[in-house]
Amino acid sequence: MIAKKTYSIPFIIWIVAGTVIPLASIAYYGFTTRDGGFTFSNITAIFRGDHLQALGLSLSLAIISTVICLLLAFPMAMVLRESKYGKQGFLIFVIILPMWMNFLLRTMAWQVLLERQGVINALITAVGLPRQEIMNTPGAIVLGMVYDFLPFMILPIYNTVSKIDNHLIEAAYDLGATKSKVYTKVILPLSVPGIVSGITMVFIPALTTFVISNMLGGGKINLIGNIIEQEFTINSNWYLGSGLSLVMMVFIILSMLMLQKFDKTGGENLI
């Protein structure tokens, strides 16, 4: 044996202090009133009209963005898989590079493009068309989400499809499968683990974001993330904020459980 069990102690302490107790305190505040009494009202507050609307919008925008990312990423991953060695390296490089830019700056870039006085509107008016209100719409938020999160969908899918043994595909053709059959019956099922981790890596941040909606929604469109953030930073109502966070966590856990049904390996291949 190289080491003793005791080597793990700092880690265990860190888990308790950095993960277990903080999460427990969300649960504590979520069920507590300002005077320290027990209550469900912070949880049931989700049924307030504006909260429910924000949650609904969050869910639908997150789902739409995830689907768009998936539709864009899968073909791109396949192109990557089939491209030649040197070109492949270049393409991966191209995909990774924007990820290294701070995502606030990337989101800001879209603000610059979509702004009423922005680049796209300048182009539109230059050809004589009326200005468009693109900013501060759900569409702008979806665009920002897709732009920010697309690489997180491409890379895990690419990781799994690149490991598919070419002999399997050749065997499928050899056994008489058509190209579409090869995709639906061989490649797609084998890429499920990548797709699942891609979806987790896009859906959860999209569902919980408050930054993208703040920057591209102009503060007019509230997602559930915005509501929670405001409770903590502006209203200082940690009790309500915690309660709503608990509700949001339920949706996170539900989505993970659903995804795990598709893929037993779960979050293990997130990296």
Partner: protein
């Protein structure tokens, strides 16, 4: 491609724009870069960002590597429970991790600032270290360790000369991953920082909220160029290693 790079290119072009307009070209200028470098706030944020990233990555690397070694001595069941907990900060939404830590600090009455950010960053970096080092601690490492003992080495010597070099690639990638995660983080920092302290991310956010200034475009251009250079350097190194690996069997 266009979709990925058009926004970035726009920022780069605008960073050299004489006027503040986002759509009208007013001539070439470097004044926004000058403004950026003269901003005390920005320089402070840059120092904070990198010092926190290095420290958090160091702490996470030490704690995580020790954890992996300790876990190797445990029963598979215990290991799986610990790994389950390890996955929580990785799978959890950043906003939840952020407010959880914020509440924890509030409960403790800890003043929020540099230290709370550092603690939080180490918390979300440890899982990445564990996941990158763990695959390297296996039966093979055990056997190499035994071989060293068999040849007369003390346990310390065997650990230093044989086990550590074996773990090194995992430790390195864990460290680098932690470093980039920390530099890149906004949400968790946002909730765990105090009033007077900024990292690059939080500074960008507060400035964008007030109104986009072209100096941020200058910052974007610089970050993009730095990322490009770093990635190219890493890529070239990778290519060299791969090339060496391709040549070697031929010898």
């Amino acid at each position: 491609m266009l979709f990925l790079y058009l926004p970035i290119l726009t920022l780069i072009v605008l960073s050299f724009n004489e006027t503040k307009s986002m759509s009208v070209w007013g001539g070439f200028s470097l004044k926004w870069y000058e403004e950026l470098f003269h901003s005390r706030l920005m320089m402070g944020a840059i120092v904070n960002t990198f010092s926190i990233a290095i420290l958090a990555a160091l702490i996470a690397t030490v704690v995580g590597t020790m954890a992996v070694l300790g876990m190797a001595a445990m029963k598979p069941r215990t290991q799986n429970i610990l790994l389950g907990f390890n996955n929580i900060p990785m799978l959890n939404a950043d906003i939840v991790t952020g407010i959880a830590l914020m509440l924890f600090f509030l409960m403790l009455g800890a003043p929020r600032g540099y230290m709370t950010i550092l603690f939080s960053h180490a918390t979300f970096c440890i899982p990445y270290v564990i996941l990158s080092v763990r695959p390297r601690v296996n039966k093979n490492t055990d056997r190499l360790f035994e071989a060293a003992l068999d040849l007369g080495a003390s346990e310390r010597y065997a650990f230093r000369k044989i086990v550590l070099p074996e773990l090194k690639p995992g430790i390195m990638s864990g460290f680098l991953l932690s470093f980039t995660m920390s530099v890149d983080d906004f949400i968790i920092t946002y909730f765990t920082r105090g009033a007077g302290i900024n990292t690059i991310s939080t500074l960008i956010y507060s400035e964008v909220k007030i109104g986009i200034r072209p100096s941020l475009f200058a910052l974007s251009s610089i970050i993009f160029v730095v990322a490009l250079v770093v990635l190219l350097a890493v890529n070239i190194r990778n290519d060299r290693i791969e090339k060496a690996e391709m040549i070697r069997p031929a010898l």
